[in-house]
């Protein structure tokens, strides 16, 4: 490998690219809107709008390609491509940081999440699902912190071409994506339980051993409620973590200053203070929350699967 593509140079280069993108995202729309003073009021609810880019309607179902769909596809493509590439080009003794990182990730998925919570037969069957789930959620969270030109609402002109503004957006920040993932997991573990035990025995297994007589009824009702709430909590945990992180960063990085609308010097002072907070939150989110939420989702998946087929003790 020539010196030009050495790992330290590549990581410095990618860091420089990311910092430039962040700076462009923050500075260019600000400069562009400073040039055209008729600024529409900041509407935070606009964060949740997803105007279609390419409208596709199949039998009345709206399957348009919009920003969220684009990010999901990007995360899926990244998951497949990165891991396949590493799998093809890996060596027995790891030569680069990427293979080491992927090996650490694989060990996390296999030894910690899957083997730590499932018996060997179930682990062998469900590891591909849990591994793919972990990588998809991880990539989806991480590219949410990379500014990409996807904000078609506010475009800015570069040499006459209207380029969409850079925006931070994560596919998992929309309730639909975590909900679908949680639905798949929920249906999967219930089907596994029914398959292992038969329908009525499975429902009966929700009640802990040792409970008998008239207490079974109320306890069964509470347990049924808790199983349905699992669907809600699994999806909401992932969704709210990523959404809150994005909102915090966006509000600290300028939203608060614009919303309060103080004079020039007040805005500058507040902007600098909250800007430092924005960077802190961004680093916190990237360093901890993105990976942790993927880890939690998959650990809970493994725990639910194990709980569904486990024998009563």
């Amino acid at each position: 490998m020539t010196k030009k593509f050495s790992p330290s140079r590549l990581s410095r280069l990618s860091l420089a690219v990311w910092v430039t993108l962040m700076g462009a995202m923050l500075a260019v729309p600000g400069l562009a809107s400073a040039a055209t003073p008729e600024e529409p009021r900041l509407d935070p609810a606009q964060e949740f709008d997803l105007p279609p880019w390419i409208s596709i309607h199949i039998f009345g179902i709206d399957m348009s390609i919009n920003k969220g769909v684009f990010y999901i596809l990007l995360a899926a493509v990244l998951t497949v491509v990165v891991v396949s590439l590493v799998a093809r080009t890996m060596t027995v003794r790891p030569k680069g940081k990427v293979q080491t990182t992927v090996e650490i990730g694989y060990s996390l998925m296999k030894d910690n999440i899957t083997d730590g919570n499932l018996d060997p037969k179930m682990a062998a069957r469900w590891f591909p699902f849990i591994g793919t789930l972990f990588l998809f959620i991880w990539f989806s969270n991480m590219i949410g912190y990379l500014p990409l030109p996807t904000n078609t609402e506010h475009t800015f002109d570069v040499a006459g071409v209207a380029i969409p503004s850079f925006a931070l957006y994560a596919a998992t920040a929309n309730i639909s994506v975590p909900l679908v993932l949680a639905l798949v997991v929920w249906i999967a573990y219930n089907v596994e339980g029914i398959r292992a035990k038969g329908f009525f025995k499975y429902i009966r297994s929700w009640v802990p051993a040792g409970v008998e007589g008239f207490m079974v009824g109320p306890i069964l009702a509470i347990e049924t409620l808790s199983h349905f709430v699992r669907l809600l909590s699994l999806s909401l945990r992932l969704f709210a973590n990523i959404l809150a992180g994005h909102l915090l960063i966006l509000f600290m990085a300028g939203g608060l200053v614009v919303l309060l609308g103080m004079g020039f010097f007040g805005s500058v002072i507040l902007g600098v203070a909250t800007g430092a907070l924005a960077v802190t939150f961004l680093l916190f989110e990237i360093g901890l929350v993105a990976t942790l939420q993927a880890f939690i989702f998959c650990t809970l998946t493994a725990i639910y699967l194990d709980g569904a087929v486990a024998e009563e003790h």
Binding site: R41, L42, L236, A244, L259
Partner: protein, 87 residues
């Protein structure tokens, strides 16, 4: 700022005020329990590691699991506040 704030009648003011209070109280009250829970988790981790330093990495992995599950409760309150404000 938002549609909820463009209020003219007393009833609209009351609705705006209610929504704003719901937003603030949602996250604020949820953070009470979460703060206590997180402090508990990390305190127990410190105790456990001080008793058996060789188990540090295992205890830490359980700690992160507990942290994420406890942190989720503040987000339930946050989402409830958002629903109160926007819906």
């Amino acid at each position: 700022m938002l549609a909820a704030v463009d209020a003219t009648t007393a009833a609209a003011y009351a609705e705006t005020a209610g929504r704003a209070m719901g937003l603030g109280l949602g996250t604020g009250l949820a953070a009470l329990g979460t703060g206590v829970g997180l402090g508990f988790i990390f305190g127990k981790t410190i105790e456990a590691v001080s008793r058996q330093p060789e188990l540090k990495s295992e205890i830490q992995s359980i700690q992160w699991l507990g942290f994420a599950l406890t942190e989720a409760t503040v987000f339930y309150g946050f989402i409830a506040g958002l629903i109160a404000f926007f819906v």
